[in-house]
């Protein structure tokens, strides 16, 4: 990615949209890049979905996920995607279901070995459906990628203190340090803690939007997905 701070001038660290939408990328000479973006975001949710929906063990789910991304995502996969019918997230999930159903049929034909053992599960005991698990893991992975992007961006632009403050405060799993603690620890003013956190958060939001832009068909779908992320 282009360093946004040098790519555009002006105040406010505003990010340009360097990310092509999925369809632009797939139509152009960039199918590999489009594919990478899809896999980075979708591997974990697809794995979790397969695992819960068909009660697979870890290994079987991994194999099937691997098989899906290796076989199903050819160029044609992107060309057949029609944003008027469904969003990309749903389109991909339906493709996973079709793929798994075919594998299941193949496994039955072979009778033993080879094919995967399936036992379909519609709902978990806590009422969560496989589709809910898919969405939840998709959202988690989206944030995880945006955090990775933020760290890379901080490292590339020499904003290490900003990153450390953000990491210590917003990524704290148990007790959060106070702003005063953070100010002392990094030898900065408390107002800087406030400013650094505000900067890191809005930068992360921009990076997350960019990640989403890369896996949606355009502004409309992007907006819908943003809304889902925060619903």
């Amino acid at each position: 990615m282009v360093d946004p701070d040098t790519a555009i001038g002006g105040a406010g660290d505003r990010f340009p949209s360097t990310q092509l939408s999925l369809l632009e990328a797939a139509a152009g000479a960039l199918p590999n890049e489009a594919l990478e973006r899809v896999i980075a975001l979708y591997w974990k949710p697809v794995y979790a979905f397969l695992r819960f929906k068909w009660r697979l063990d870890n290994e079987a789910a991994k194999d099937l996920t691997q098989g899906f991304f290796a076989n199903a995502l050819e160029r044609d996969f992107f060309r057949r995607f029609d944003p008027a019918k469904a969003g990309f997230r749903t389109y991909l999930r339906m493709a996973v279901e079709r793929f798994a159903a075919n594998e299941y049929a193949a496994g039955r034909r072979q009778k033993r070995g080879g094919g995967v053992e399936f036992a379909e599960m519609e709902e978990r005991s806590d009422g969560e459906s496989p589709e809910d698990v898919y969405f939840r893991e998709w959202r988690r992975q989206l944030f995880a990628l945006a955090i990775d992007d933020l760290r890379a961006h901080c490292e590339a632009s020499g904003r290490l203190t900003e990153w450390r403050v953000f990491e210590a405060y917003d990524l704290a799993d148990e007790s959060r340090p106070s702003y005063a603690d953070l100010a002392r620890r990094h030898e900065i003013a408390e107002t800087s803690v406030t400013n650094y956190l505000a900067w890191a958060r809005r930068t992360m939001r921009a990076l997350l939007t960019d990640r989403l832009r890369g896996v949606t068909s355009g502004e409309r779908e992007l907006r819908e997905e943003m809304r889902r992320v925060w619903s």
Binding site: R14, R140, F143, A144, A198, R205, R223, W230
Partner: protein
């Protein structure tokens, strides 16, 4: 990076919070999320009053300008618009204390009160049309009824993301008549099950599948509702002779009673006279 549920939840909250430093507003709480933005209650420090702040992704600044142009008691006044440090845009507007029209109905208002809501909405719509602005997504969720009976139509000119098909004209495009369709659907929505037939006919005419068969504009539909309230014949409803007589009787109730009384007196006098 493995994210726990609690960290994810925290991030979702803080990453989306608008950074209002450098503005005159202080965030109070989130009111709700719509198709294109989030609405917050905020405090305007300079004027010491509460406002509603709508925060949207860049590219939607047009919405504020569109609404700011519309000055009408049925349209929420916009105070100011601006840009946040992260590039998102916001506008500040009057904070409406009240209920969305769909929730308002849960209090079982009278037929007259229900009609009043539709009339206020229709007036705002007619005004906006006269300014060349279409609503495009009129539905009960976009109408607010205030604590003192004020009615506000929200979300002008924005092609809603999760559109509500029941309130959308079937032809798909947008013009005055597609807004009239939505106004008809709103009327149908607020009418109780035992609503008079003439009112159902008004909403049916407004919602006609053929745009040319609808009321040409919101004003014409309002005029028909007004005729109903004045117990005049409604354009949308060809009534039977019986219904006509009954409506005539109702409208002219006092006069008919007077006539009857007069006839009775004459009758009585006639007998006295001939005795």
């Amino acid at each position: 990076m493995e994210l726990s549920d609690s960290v994810l939840q925290h991030l979702r909250e803080v990453v989306d919070l608008p950074d209002l430093s450098g503005t005159r507003y202080e965030l109070e709480s989130e009111i709700g999320r719509g198709g294109i933005g989030v609405v917050y209650a905020a405090r305007d420090r300079d004027l010491d009053r509460r406002v509603a702040l709508k925060v949207m992704d860049a590219g939607w600044a047009g919405e504020a300008r569109l609404i700011a142009r519309l000055e009408h008691p049925g349209i929420v006044p916009v105070h100011e618009s601006g840009t946040l440090p992260d590039g998102r845009v916001f506008y500040a507007m009057k904070l409406v204390a009240g209920k969305r029209a769909d929730r308002y109905l849960e209090d079982h208002p009278s037929l007259g009160e229900r009609l009043r809501v539709v009339q206020r909405v229709g007036e705002a719509l007619a005004y906006a049309h006269s300014c060349g602005v279409l609503h495009r997504d009129l539905k009960p969720q976009n109408v607010m009824v205030g604590a003192f009976g004020e009615v506000y139509v929200m979300d002008w000119g924005v092609d809603g993301v999760a559109g509500t098909p029941a309130f959308r004209a079937p032809e798909g495009g947008f013009d005055q008549r597609s807004d009239v369709f939505s106004l008809g659907a709103l009327l149908q929505f607020v009418l109780p099950a035992d609503a008079p037939r003439a009112l159902c006919a008004i909403s049916a005419k407004a919602m006609h599948a053929d745009p040319a068969a609808r009321y040409p504009d919101a004003g014409a539909m309002l005029a028909d509702i007004w005729r109903f309230q004045e117990k005049l014949a409604v354009e949308a409803y060809p009534e039977s002779i019986g219904e006509r007589v009954r409506r005539f009787a109702k409208r002219n109730e006092v006069m008919l009673w007077l006539l009857a009384a007069y006839a009775a007196v004459r009758f009585f006098l006639f007998f006295i006279g001939t005795r």
